[in-house]
Amino acid sequence: MFALEFPPLGHIVDWPNFIGGPDAWYGINKVVLIYFMSAILTIGIFVLGTRKKALVPTGTQNFVETAVEFVEDQIVMETMGKEGLKYTPYLVSLMFFIFFCNIFEVIPLIQMPATARIALPMFLALLAYVIYHGAGFKEHKLGYFKHALVPPGVPFALLFLVVPIEFISKFLVQPFSHTVRLFANLLAGHILLVTFAVLTSALFTKQWYAIFLPLPAFAIVFFTAFEVLVSFLQAYVFTLLTGVYINAAQSHEH
């Protein structure tokens, strides 16, 4: 009855290379262009905002100072305390880069979140993996393994059970879940928007069932607004978790 055919998953996230052949290692497609644009936007906003360094900030400087303060107060101080302040530049640029990559999901005519391909979230999670384990080794030297694997106050006999579990969760599963959290959220959002777009275009007919057209059309507007929220929230959560992992690696509490 409907001319309804949902495109296979490959069609909505795979983009052909327009520089280089289909298998070229240097091939550039839409997603790579979005990476470049996000990087340029992130750098550009901070260059613009810190050019004048006025005492009373205006315009872009105002925005940049608010953003840095937000990361300092809400992420660094909440998760790591004072000794984490040296990670602020990394966390600020991480959050902005992810946010720009995400927000292309709802920008008309582009509408592809760059983080819906697993390459970028995986790279960022592995970068964070190197950074927080590096911070742990720097702080505890070789005692880091004991710090990471042996929770305090566990009876000796239970260690044979606890240490493998901690090893799997800290060194293997943690980067995986860090990756998948960002990737799957954005992929799900993208599929959701595509679903309602397909439904809307299928209902755009002269048949009687065109009276249902307003429903998916309204849903698409609603979910677009929702995805703006998700884009910000996932950038925030990814950065927050990076802070939590760094703190868990370098802290001295236990």
């Binding site: 998953l9 909440e78 998760t79 998948v180 959290r181 799957a184 799900a188 925030y236 959560v237 927050l240």
Partner: protein, 87 residues
């Protein structure tokens, strides 16, 4: 493995049920737990914020952290859903 079991059982009971349908069904099952978890978590956080508005900032950060951890389960299920559709 469990999925394979269920798919064999369902294929005997109801021919015409595909792996795709079962993958969708198990996604629905996998969403129950995180759904309850996030609901309870946010409800309790809202209660905490209403009782002690001056601690709202701290509660909110912890709430997002908890949501992120609970949500990961549903999202991993979502990824397995696509993997399961392949065959």
């Amino acid at each position: 493995m469990l999925l394979a079991h269920v798919s064999v059982l369902l294929a005997q009971a109801a021919p015409g049920v595909t792996n795709k349908g079962i993958a969708a069904l198990t996604y629905g099952l996998g969403a129950i737990g995180p759904g309850i978890g996030i609901g309870y978590l946010v409800g309790q956080s809202v209660q905490a914020m209403a009782r002690q508005p001056e601690a709202a900032g701290m509660v909110r950060t912890t709430m997002f952290l908890g949501i992120a951890f609970v949500e990961a389960l549903a999202l991993i299920r979502f990824v397995v859903f696509f993997l399961g559709q392949g065959n």
